[in-house]
């Protein structure tokens, strides 16, 4: 589930408000999005993929929170790690371009 929006990193672009498939965010009074309907989060990680500031963190659990510390997440490189994996953002190679899926059946266990 969505755990946090980093007030420090957020650039108030509204992208997460627009892209969330289940309408979890509202735009806050100061422009920083508010997690208004956390119970509707489907843990699909799409908001993270689209966040240009790596300001969001979606926890791995479908129905519970971990309350991670933002500083620790940043130190572990977890803020923006999904965007990095799929290769979105300047200077990165898209996951699609290095996708190994067409070849994995070659290593199927017997």
């Amino acid at each position: 589930m969505i755990e946090l929006v980093s007030r420090e990193r957020c650039v108030k672009c509204d992208m997460c408000v627009r892209v969330c498939p289940t309408h979890v965010f509202d735009r806050g009074a100061d422009g920083v999005p508010v997690i208004a309907r956390r119970e509707d989060c489907q843990t699909c990680y799409m908001c993270e993929a689209y966040c240009p500031a790596d300001a969001l963190y979606v926890g791995p659990y479908a129905d519970r929170l971990d309350h991670p510390d933002e500083g620790e997440l940043a130190a572990k490189g977890l803020l923006g790690s999904w965007r990095k994996t799929i290769g979105w953002g300047p200077g990165r190679t898209k996951l699609a371009a290095i996708d190994t899926t067409p070849f994995i059946d070659r290593i199927l266990p017997r």
């Binding site: 408000v17 627009r18 892209v19 969330c20 498939p21 289940t22 309408h23 735009r27 309907r37 509707d40 489907q42 843990t43 699909c44 990680y45 799409m46 908001c47 993929a49 689209y50 926890g59 791995p60 659990y61 479908a62 129905d63 977890l78 790690s81 999904w82 994996t85 799929i86 979105w88 898209k94 996951l95 699609a96 371009a97 290095i98 996708d99 190994t100 899926t101 067409p102 070849f103 994995i104 290593i107 199927l108 266990p109």
Partner: protein, 540 residues
């Protein structure tokens, strides 16, 4: 709730839904010169089952022998409910469209001989690209704009209206033709990207009299880590499955013991220990990367540490049922109404078995292309009549409002009550006539609740329609399942463990307050007829 002045648009074609099928339908209709509006509940690019993860594709080079063999196998596996001509059509069309996807900039890998490998798409990249293509084609995209009901007159459908979730304002689009591409129904079971798939399009189409087909083929559950949501399970081919005491389950992810043990509350674990070299592990990480994300974040090494599994119900998403289509344009029985993707039945290409990822992804591309093109031609043939039609809203349930309306609907309780009937393996996987009859009775008893007053919030208004759609879908599913007194494809009934050659037909269900069932013959697979399969092994 504050209500702002809404938008009113007129178009030739309205596409409802912005997953792959909707995107292809909108592009296809616009390519015919039609003015197109696409309304999506979430966001075209992130919404639906495809966007978050990877998706396999049915992709075969145009080699007649290769294709004929694939088609024969599919017809046989499908319980003889798939049609060879349709599978060929899909193979042809998807091959063409994937070349287009590449020409639009998708970086398909090539093998050692330089042959493009177009049998897998990374969802985020694919759907971001499709958004760009749809916009470039001149389509007006309404994001965060769930449709609440269709508009219609005596001639058929004429548009839809809904709500813009970000400010609660209303929208209305009048259109000569409507493509329903709202996806399937997964009952909020937390499968990856699937909680937006609540059967909305089925309900809207049924309110205009459209029929559903194949709703009994809805017995598919996806293995998934017990804590997470990633229901992409291809990498479990590298897993060893064990019980609590370490006993290995033979048969891997398709073992019948998996649902059996889980239905008894006994844990099952998996570990990807068959990826036994660093090279293999790296290969898997760069294929279905989403699979690893929750493990990395939960501090679990899935190659070395076993993790508990669950089965998440996938309804009509990896089931095959949906709105009945009556011709090769994906037209429905309602004038001007077309269906594409998981919103449509996929029986013509998958019969009674799951379309899994590959068939369904190919079907979304093809049915979207066909439905969009046909919708454009239909609408353009109407000329200027769209603006002057006397259209009425067609919604009948989950819409009651106002002070004089009946008592307020408890949405959370209604959704839980529906889930209690459709999610349990004991009812829906281990299907029996006795169990389904009792469950259907309870579901039918819930139906009057959808006429209660809807909470006056954006979320309440949207969720009320979703709940009505899920309830209708559940009732169609179990009505059809009880009418198919045999075991065929993915459908089973404990009392009828064998395939019955006399039931090689489709089952059509229709209606909301009262559900009707009838049979529909399957044409065109006689060429592929072989000795009937021996009775399937009964479910333990």
């Amino acid at each position: 709730m504050k209500r702002r002045e809404g938008v009113r648009l007129t178009a030739d074609v309205l596409v409802v839904g912005g997953g792959p099928a909707g995107a292809w339908a909108a592009w296809s209709a616009a390519s015919q010169g039609a003015k197109v509006v696409l309304a999506e509940k979430g966001y075209l690019g992130s919404s639906g089952a495809t966007a978050p993860g990877g998706t396999n594709l049915l992709y075969l080079p145009p080699d007649p022998a290769l294709r004929d063999e694939a088609v024969r196998k599919r017809v046989r596996d499908s319980g003889y409910l798939a049609e060879p001509d349709w599978i060929h059509r899909v193979l042809d069309q998807v091959y063409e469209n994937l070349q287009l996807v590449e020409s639009w900039g998708y970086p398909f890998r090539r093998d050692e001989n330089g042959t493009p490998m177009r049998d897998h798409l990374q969802g985020p990249e694919y759907m971001r690209l499709m958004r760009r293509v749809v916009r470039r084609a001149g389509v007006t995209i309404l994001d965060q704009s769930p449709a609440l009901e269709l508009l219609a007159d005596a001639h058929g459908v004429g548009g839809a209206r809904g709500i813009f979730r970000l400010d609660g304002s209303a929208w209305e689009v009048r259109a000569g033709a409507v493509v329903i591409a709202t996806g399937g129904c997964a009952f909020l079971s937390n499968g990856l990207g699937c909680n937006v798939l609540t059967g909305d399009g089925y309900l809207m189409a049924a309110e205009l009299g459209a029929e559903m087909s194949g709703m009994e083929f809805t017995r598919y559950y996806a293995p998934c880590s017990a804590f997470g949501t990633v229901t992409r399970s291809r990498l479990l081919n590298w897993a060893t499955f064990t019980t609590e005491d370490g006993t290995v389950l033979k048969g891997g992810r398709r073992s019948e013991l998996l649902p059996l043990l889980l239905s008894q509350g006994r844990p099952v674990y998996a570990v990807l220990d068959k990826a036994d070299t660093e090279e293999k592990r790296n290969m898997l990480r760069h294929s279905h990367a989403i699979f690893f994300l929750p493990f990395d974040r939960a501090g679990i090494d899935p190659f070395r540490q076993r993790f508990p599994l669950t089965l998440r119900y996938e309804g009509t998403v990896r089931g095959t049922g949906g709105i009945r289509i009556v011709d090769e344009n994906c037209a429905t029985t309602v004038g001007g109404l077309f269906a594409a993707g998981d919103a449509a039945t996929r029986e013509r290409v998958t019969g009674g078995i799951s379309g899994g990822g590959a068939f369904n992804a190919a079907w979304a591309i093809c049915s979207g292309t066909w439905a969009g093109r046909a919708a454009a031609r239909y609408a353009l043939s109407l000329g200027n009549r769209t603006a002057t039609r006397a259209l009425r809203p067609a919604g009948r349930s989950g819409l009651a409002a106002g002070a004089e309306a009946p008592p307020e609907l408890d949405l959370a309780e209604l959704v839980s009550a529906i889930q209690r009937e459709v999610l349990p393996l004991s009812i829906n996987y281990f299907r029996s006539e006795a169990g389904l009859e009792r469950s259907l009775e309870r579901l039918n008893a819930l139906w009057p609740l959808v006429h209660r007053r809807v909470p006056d919030t954006v979320r309440g208004r949207v969720r009320a329609r979703e709940a009505a759609a899920m309830l209708a879908t559940a009732r169609w599913m179990y009505t059809a399942a009880l009418a198919r007194r045999e075991t065929r494809g993915m459908h089973t009934l404990a009392e009828y463990p064998a395939e019955d050659p006399a039931q090689r037909h489709r089952l059509l269900v229709s209606g909301l307050d009262r559900i009707r069932v009838r049979t529909d013959p399957v044409r065109g697979n006689g060429l592929y007829e072989e000795a009937p399969a021996a009775g399937r092994e009964a479910v333990p």
